[in-house]
């Protein structure tokens, strides 16, 4: 789960990591009023995607009137498909130097890694690729936490003259990372100003698996992804025409690959997870068929925990309503019962992933 910049900064502030004074507003009048109190401000689009600066989603304003105009412009924008509903009005702080500080998970070393670079502000992925010597990486043992010497080395790599201040921020950011179950926490830029070091931007990604013990409320978007998640399933929208329902992520990816292999285009990825019941299968079909681009649907189940007769029951309950041709593959636990149940409805059956993929692509061609 990604957090908005303002939400990440609220958390930084709770951990005494310095941030500029700011107000979150959703209209231009609010922006004007905030700017009247702060003087020169920066207006920043609050969207859950990168590249908003390049897209024109960040602007400086030196008067309240200008803040009004800029806020109105940015609030009308859509950045990479994300409409801007709120802007953060922030007191302008002039950076003397822009640095980078981030903490993420190194999958290879299976531990947290802190990354620091005296070259911040710009695209850190570019820096990592083109001048890796500009980035200091420090792996942390999660059982001991960050050692003082590690924070000191990182701080020195950023700015030797500001070491005590930076050590403090690095240690606090590590606490943010641990306490909030972060997959990523990032300050870019971390700026030196005439009044000290300050976090000018903030990015946080929380591990979805840890939301049960964290207090973040997921924003309701009404998306199919969200509806699937609420029902214990995983859905990713794609831009093709064949709806896919599969149990297991690996088998789902293989199914999508096979559809492409036979010349079809998948409309979605969907993993109904192990042990799906009839109700979940019905919901899965509702979700997948609600995408208007879907011309045919493949259901590919290899039942271990999942019972094929339960899947068949779910299909039968909704099949008459959806009016989209299906190809169904049922193997594994209770496969004979499941297949017999569907046999009566004249649904096209297949006995392997490849046969099912070929079958569903063939349906598209005959329509």
């Amino acid at each position: 789960m990604k957090l908005y910049e303002y939400a990440a900064k609220e958390i930084f502030s709770k951990y005494d990591i310095p941030i500029p004074a700011s107000t979150l507003v959703s209209d231009a009048d609010g922006a004007e009023e905030a700017a009247r109190k702060m003087g020169e401000v920066v207006i920043k689009a609050q969207v859950l995607t990168g590249g908003r600066g390049k897209a024109g989603g960040i602007a400086r304003a030196s008067s309240p009137e200008e803040a009004n105009i800029q806020a109105k412009r940015i609030l009308g924008m859509s950045i990479k498909g994300f409409p801007v509903k709120k802007v953060l009005i922030e007191e302008y702080r002039e950076p003397i130097k822009e640095m980078y500080l981030g903490i993420t998970i190194d999958r290879t070393k299976k531990s947290p890694v802190i990354m620091a670079s005296p070259q911040g502000g710009i695209d850190i992925e570019e820096t990592a690729k083109n001048s890796p010597e500009q980035i200091t990486m420090m792996h942390i043992n999660p059982l001991t936490g960050i050692h003082e010497y590690q924070a000191r080395m990182l701080a020195n790599s950023l700015d030797r003259n500001k070491s005590p201040e930076l050590i403090n921020i690095i240690k606090k950011l590590y606490c943010v990372f641990i306490d909030n179950d972060c997959q990523l926490v990032e300050i870019n830029p971390l700026a030196r100003t005439k009044d000290g070091i300050i976090a000018l931007d903030g990015k946080m990604v929380i591990d979805d698996n840890a939301l049960f013990r964290q207090d973040f409320s997921q924003e309701e978007t009404g998306s199919l992804e969200e509806l699937a998640r609420k029902n214990g399933m995983s859905y990713v929208g794609l831009d093709g025409e064949i709806g896919c329902i599969v149990n297991g992520a690996g088998l789902a990816m293989a199914t999508l690959d096979m559809i492409k292999h036979y010349g079809g285009t998948p409309a979605n990825f969907m993993d109904v997870r192990a042990g799906a019941n009839a109700q979940q299968v019905k919901t899965a079909l509702e979700i997948v068929s609600s995408n208007k681009n879907v011309k045919s649907i493949i259901i590919n189940i290899f039942g271990g925990l999942t019972k094929c007769d339960e899947v068949a029951k779910g299909i039968i309950e909704i099949f008459p309503e959806i009016k989209i041709p299906l190809v169904v593959r049922l193997s594994g636990t209770n496969e004979l019962e499941g297949r017999a149940m569907l046999g009566k409805y004249g649904i096209q059956m297949a006995s392997s992933t490849e046969e099912a993929a070929k079958g569903v692509v063939g349906l598209g061609h005959s329509n």
Partner: protein, 287 residues
């Protein structure tokens, strides 16, 4: 023979009284696995499938001689169960649980490294050696004894491939699912090393997917193996930046695409199958 488990492996089920734990315990007993007992805090003294239930692993080890455990505990408590198994010296810990927070798994990994236990998973289907023992949730009927080692990051896709091999009269020495999470206990290389040393394994099928670099990290080892390895990598059609179900299956910062993995394998001279049925043909050709 196969790897890691055999007829003498004595298995404890952590979370045996839960719906899944109890159901799968029955399936493992049917398969022939030597289940010696189970653990559920607060349920000690009861029986599940005629096996004794204990309040803790420590108590279970006083009454049984378990040397392996399988975990069906919900994600909130699963890391604690792994720590408990490690602290009690369980040699092989198989964690089926899906959805364990990644921070918990990083702590588990740091601790595991300093112990002599091996962890398989989490978020994995377990391990099966046909005609000997099964620890986990793979369907019983798909396996057939033979000489092919199977190792995979996936669950149901492993079933499909094992089933297809069996139907084509190609038996398996052992089938292993290492799990789909970004931080797990056993890597491809760990399992490939075991297959290389196993006299009963003549060739290996390795099933990878997008995300991370665990497939690429195994290339150097595969190149020096004496046995043929047939690989299959899924996720060619996956877009970057989206998690494809498995917590580990995400392409980020351009790292971990299926195409990159396939190209790296082919460049190293490792056989890559184009589809599940292609695997069968390539295995036949390799023997």
């Amino acid at each position: 023979m196969g790897i890691l488990i055999d007829k003498n492996t004595r298995v404890l089920v952590q979370g045996i009284t839960g719906h899944e734990g109890s159901l799968q315990t029955g399936q493992m007993i049917d398969f022939g696995t030597n289940i010696v007992g189970g653990v559920t805090p607060g349920k000690g003294g009861s029986l599940v499938h005629e096996r004794p239930v204990f309040d803790s692993v420590n108590e279970a080890l006083k009454e049984t001689d378990a040397n392996a455990s399988v975990i069906f505990v919900p994600p909130q408590f699963a890391a604690d169960s792994i720590f408990e198994a490690i602290d009690n010296g369980i040699e092989l810990i198989v964690c089926i649980t899906e959805g364990i927070p990644v921070h918990d798994m990083m702590r588990v990994w740091s601790y595991l490294k300093t112990s002599s236990s091996r962890l398989l998973g989490p978020n994995c289907p377990g391990i099966t050696t046909p005609s000997a023992s099964k620890i986990g949730i793979m369907p019983n009927h798909i396996h057939k004894p033979g000489n092919i080692g199977v190792v995979s990051r996936s669950g149901t896709l492993t079933y499909e491939i094992v089933d297809m091999l069996s139907k084509n009269d190609i038996g398996q020495s052992t089938s292993v699912g290492i799990g789909g999470d970004p931080v797990n206990g056993t890597s491809f290389v760990d399992i490939l090393e075991l297959f290389e040393d196993d006299s009963e394994t003549h060739a290996v099928v390795m099933v990878g997917e997008i995300g991370g670099t665990t497939e690429e990290e195994s290339i150097d080892f595969i190149k020096q193996m004496s046995k043929p390895v047939i690989s299959y990598i899924v996720g060619v059609s996956a877009p970057p930046g989206k998690t494809m179900g498995h917590a580990g299956a995400i392409i980020s910062m351009g790292v971990g695409t299926a195409l990159e993995k396939i190209q790296a394998f082919e460049k190293a001279g490792i056989t890559v199958a184009k589809s599940p049925s292609d695997i069968v043909q390539l295995v036949k050709n390799s023997l």
